[in-house]
Structure formats: C-alpha cells, structure tokens
C-alpha cells in the first residue's frame, strides 16, 4: 500500500514539474505536486514499517508538523510579493538544514557493520545540506539588504581549500572509521556551514536568484541522500528530480542573462571596471523634474522600461499612479518588460501586477521593440544593462549578443537612476551619453512622486 502511495507521489512530482513549466497549467501543477506530497507524508506516518515495526512518537511528529505548518503557512501568506525570492531562499535553507539534521541523527546508528557507502551517503547529506542551509541564509540576508557583498583577495582559493579539507576529513572518516567519529562529524558540519557562507558572500546581490536556484538543486541532492539511507523511492525521485531540474533551470537562468554559470559564481564580470572614473565618460545631459514632467505630459506615447532600480525603490505603486495620471491627460502609456529585467525572470511582471497595472499594458520585448520608433518618450526606471546598445554594436562588450530593448529609436529617452554608476554588469552604457537621452537622478520612488506632483500642476 505504501509503495503505491510513494509511486503516486513520485508521479505527481514529475507531472507537477512538467505542468509548472507551462503558463496555462502551472498553478494546477503546483497543486498536484502538493497533493502528492500530502499523501506521501500521511502514508509515511501511518503505514511505514521497519523490521515489522510501525513508527512511534506520533505526538512529537504531529507537533513538529503543526508548528512547521503554521509558521510556513503564515509567513508564506504574509510575505510581500517583492520579497518572494528571499522567502524561497529561506525555505530552501530549511530543507537543507532538515537533510543535514537527518544525517547527524543517522551518525548515531553507525556501527562496525555500517558499510562505507552508507557512511558516504550520510556525509554527502550532511555536507550538501549544511552548505545549502548556510548559503541560503546568506542569500536571504543579501536579498533583504541585511548582508552586504563581501569579497576578499584569494577568496576563491580559500573556498577551494576549504572544500578540499571537508572532503579529506570525510574520506578519512569513511576509510578509517575512527572511534572519535562524533568530533570529526562536528568538524565537517562546521566547515560545511562556513563553506556555504563563503560560497555565497562574494556573489553580487542581483545574481542571487541564480545562486538560489543552484542551492535549490543542492538541497534536492541532499534529500535524495535521505532516500538512499531509508531506501525510500519518493525521496529519491523527488530529490534527484529537483537536483537535475534545478541545475538545468540554473543554466537556463544564466542563459537568459547571457552569462555563464562560471561568471556568476566567480563574479569576475566587470569587477575591475566598476569605478566611475576608470573610463572616458563623455558628457551627459541632466533634466530637471519640472522639465521631465512637461515632456511626459505633452507626449502622445510613453513607454516605461522598469528595471531592478524600480524593485529596490519599491516604486511600482507610484509608477502605476504616474501611468494613470498620464492616461487621464490623454497620453498612451505602455510598459516594456525585458525578460530578465531586474535580473530575476518575471520579477517586473509580478511587481507591476501587485500594483494593479493591467496586463494588456505590459509588453514583452518582441512586442515592444517595433513600437519604439513611434514612441515619444521612453522612461527608463532603474534599468541599465537591458537597454545598453553595446549589446548590439560592441562585440567586445561582456553583454554582446544579449537581446535588448531598443529604446534608442524613440524620440526622447529619460533615464532615472540614482547615480552615474554603471549597472550590475559593471559596464558603461553609451545610451546615457547620447544627445536624445536625458538623465533624471534620484530614487525611483521619490522621483515618481515628485513627477506626479509636477504633472498635476502642468
């Protein structure tokens, strides 16, 4: 009976993932997978037997399920749409910690008859689970803005050495099976946690979704280790499925940003060129708030290009207000959404949907690009790399080949940024120095609100 339940569980995970990858069926797919999870958990509690014995400690289990369930439900319901990625990261960390804890408890059962492969799997679960836990917590803190990017010279070498030490200790314990195993285990645990921290710390905040996706697949593998330990097919299929799908997803996300995984992890991308004075900057034109307001109010067609800056400033509501105000004045307002705007796929769609921007006003890149010719004003809000013409014209540019929004075809481009600092890719954007372009400096939200005030008076 339990095998049947596990079989159904495994199938729901596969079907669920499949459905999640198509827009029309995604939500149903999620529910199907959730249903499979539910019956697998219930089945385990009531039907699982080991050497003919049922599980006990029901109250402990029920208590744990209840506490975890309530906290999970409440925090998932309450979290703001904009904070979704860090929430996912936090939950991922919990899964990693869970896998690590299982391995720790299993160390107790190790005895002279334990095979080295069994021990290897326990170690794998411990190491991967702890790395995933520590890394996810750091990723969560970074997306929250609580933890800054920290990188020191030779960090990659330090990380590699750390990893080698961890693996060496694990290999030693597996090979020799020393009596003081608990201490060695503790050392591996601590070093793995440390590695997780240093693995994520130097990676740029905007690259976090990719890292979370990677850690996600780590946790999948850690869960699969549990499946090996208990000969449990649903853990095994679920874990491996997430492990491989997560890896592919990570690569897909990198591709959408036209970067390689190596680039993201090492962060070498433009690292040397982030200073504002390192390159000939040319002259840019600044525009005042009232001038910008006039330009916008008397335009026929306005296209708003949102980016990471909009998300950081939480300016989506102010942005929607501006759009409503302009439309009331007879200006046609549309949004052009680059697929990786904000460096998190779908980020802008979700943000603007939260602010009740109608779906029809959001244009995808393919729809938006032909319209720039007839657009009077493009308002770039905190986006940079996705409108950088160098992606089309300069083969030496790191983002060469990435499809961009061709805003330079519009009559006027107003760019709102906080400063002239280059965007995440760390490269100059010649768009800012073109005669058609005017810069409007300031925090996206504050600028939006001031623009609204100015336009009301026009």
């Amino acid at each position: 009976m339990l095998s049947l339940i596990y079989l159904i569980g495994s199938v729901t995970f596969i079907v669920g993932l499949k459905m999640l990858s198509h827009p029309a069926t995604a939500r149903k797919g999620n529910l199907i997978a959730a249903g499979g999870m539910f019956i697998s958990i219930l089945g385990t509690i009531f039907l699982y037997t080991h050497n003919g014995e049922h599980l006990h400690n029901f109250w402990w289990i029920a208590g744990g399920l209840l506490i975890g369930g309530v906290i999970g439900l409440v925090s998932a319901k309450k979290v703001k749409m904009t904070a979704m990625p860090e929430m996912v990261s936090l939950f991922n960390g919990m899964g990693g910690a869970c896998a690590a804890l299982i391995s720790i408890v299993e160390f107790e059962h190790v005895n002279a008859e334990t095979t080295s492969l069994h021990l290897l799997i326990i170690f794998a679960g411990l190491i991967i689970g702890s790395i995933s836990f520590a890394g996810s917590i750091i990723a969560w803190g970074k997306l929250n803005g609580k933890i800054k990017d920290i990188a020191f010279k030779g960090q990659h070498i330090f990380n590699i050495i750390l990893l080698i030490v961890i693996l060496a200790i694990a290999a030693f314990v597996i090979g020799v099976q020393p009596v003081t195993m608990a201490w060695w285990m503790l050392a591996v645990l601590l070093l793995s946690l440390l590695y997780g921290v240093f693995f994520v710390l130097p990676i740029g905040g905007a690259d976090m979704p990719v890292v979370i996706s990677l850690l996600n697949s780590f946790t999948g593998v850690a869960a699969a280790c549990g499946g090996f330990l208990y000969n449990n097919p649903v853990m095994l299929t679920g874990g491996i499925l997430v492990g491989s799908a997560g890896t592919i997803l990570t690569i897909l996300m990198c591709k959408a940003m036209n970067r390689s995984l190596k680039n993201v992890l090492i962060g070498s991308f433009g690292g040397s060129n982030t200073g504002s004075g390192s390159k000939e900057q040319g002259a840019y034109r600044e525009i005042g708030l009232s001038d910008a307001a006039v330009v916008l109010a008397y335009a026929h067609k306005v296209m708003i290009v949102p980016g990471y800056g909009l998300a950081v400033a939480q300016a989506q509501h102010a942005c929607h207000e501006l759009e409503v105000l302009l439309e009331a004045k007879g200006v046609e307002v549309r949004y052009a959404i680059h697929p990786v705007a904000g460096r998190m796929p779908g980020h802008m769609n979700v943000l603007l949907a939260e602010a009740d921007v109608p779906y029809e006003k959001l244009l995808e890149m393919e729809q938006a690009n032909p319209r720039f010719n007839t657009t009077d004003v493009v308002l770039v809000l905190g986006a940079n790399d996705v409108v950088n013409p160098a992606a089309k014209s300069d083969p030496a540019s790191p983002i060469y080949g990435m499809p961009i929004l061709e805003v330079e075809h519009a009559k006027t481009v107003i760019v709102n940024k906080r400063s002239m600092k280059p965007g995440y890719a760390g490269i100059e954007n010649e768009l800012f120095f073109r005669p058609k372009t005017a810069m409007l400096f300031g925090d996206a939200k504050a600028v939006m609100q001031q623009l609204i005030a100015e336009i009301t008076q026009v």
Binding site: L17, K18, L20, S21, R27, G29, N30, M37, I41, H50, H54, L55, H56, N57, W60, I61, G64, I67, G68, G72, L73, A76, V88, F91, G95, C98, L101, I102, V105, E108, S116, L117, I212, S213, N216, T219, G220, F228, L229, N232, V234, M235, L236, G238, G239, I240, L241, G243, S244, A245, T247, I248, L249, P339, P345, G346, H347, V350, P358, E360
Partner: protein
C-alpha cells in the same frame, strides 16, 4: 568490491537515480523565462520531500533518546516549513500570473 556489491544490491535505486536525472532535464528543458522563478519555487517545495526522512528519524527514535528526539523534532519542523511554505509561496506567485490574464 564495495562498489560493485552496492550496485548489485541496489540495482533498482541506481536505475531510479539515473532515469530521474534525465527526466528532470527533459521535463523543464523548454520553459519561458517568466516562469523561471515560480518553477524554482515549485522545485524548492518538492525537495521538501526530505520531510519524510525526518518523520522516519523521529518515528524510529527510542523514547528516551533525547538528542535524537530533539534533532528529529527540529528536522520535522524545518522540513514542514519547506514543504508548506514552498507550495503556498509558489501558489501565490502563480495566482498573480493568472489574475493578470483574467483582467
């Protein structure tokens, strides 16, 4: 040979692992970029299946083995957080996508 005997004993498991790897790659090889984030979140919820291991640890622990009970209890809480939070967050994200289309 340890490894050989392992494969002989765990033939099915080895097959399951290898086939699952390919299945995972196949299943999501073509996904629109808008869905990357929800898909990541959904996969995140699915690896919450590790909760089953936590339940087994908890359920097999002897009544007076407090370290195992406490660690297992913690593992059950964390695993449940992963599962419940993961699925609910994914559903909320996808709800956004849907409501947009209805408007």
């Amino acid at each position: 040979m340890d490894i050989l005997s392992f494969f002989e004993q765990h033939m099915e498991m080895t097959y399951v692992v290898i086939l699952s790897v390919f299945l995972g790659i196949e299943v999501i090889s073509r996904v629109p970029s808008v869905l990357h984030t929800p898909l990541m979140s959904g996969a995140n919820a699915i690896h919450g299946v590790v909760i089953i291991g936590a339940i087994i640890v908890m359920g097999e622990a002897e009544k007076d083995n407090y370290p195992a009970l406490i660690l297992g209890f913690l593992a059950v809480i964390l695993g449940t957080l992963n599962v419940v939070g993961g699925f609910v967050v994914t559903d909320r994200m996808l709800e956004m996508f849907k409501s947009k289309k209805n408007k």
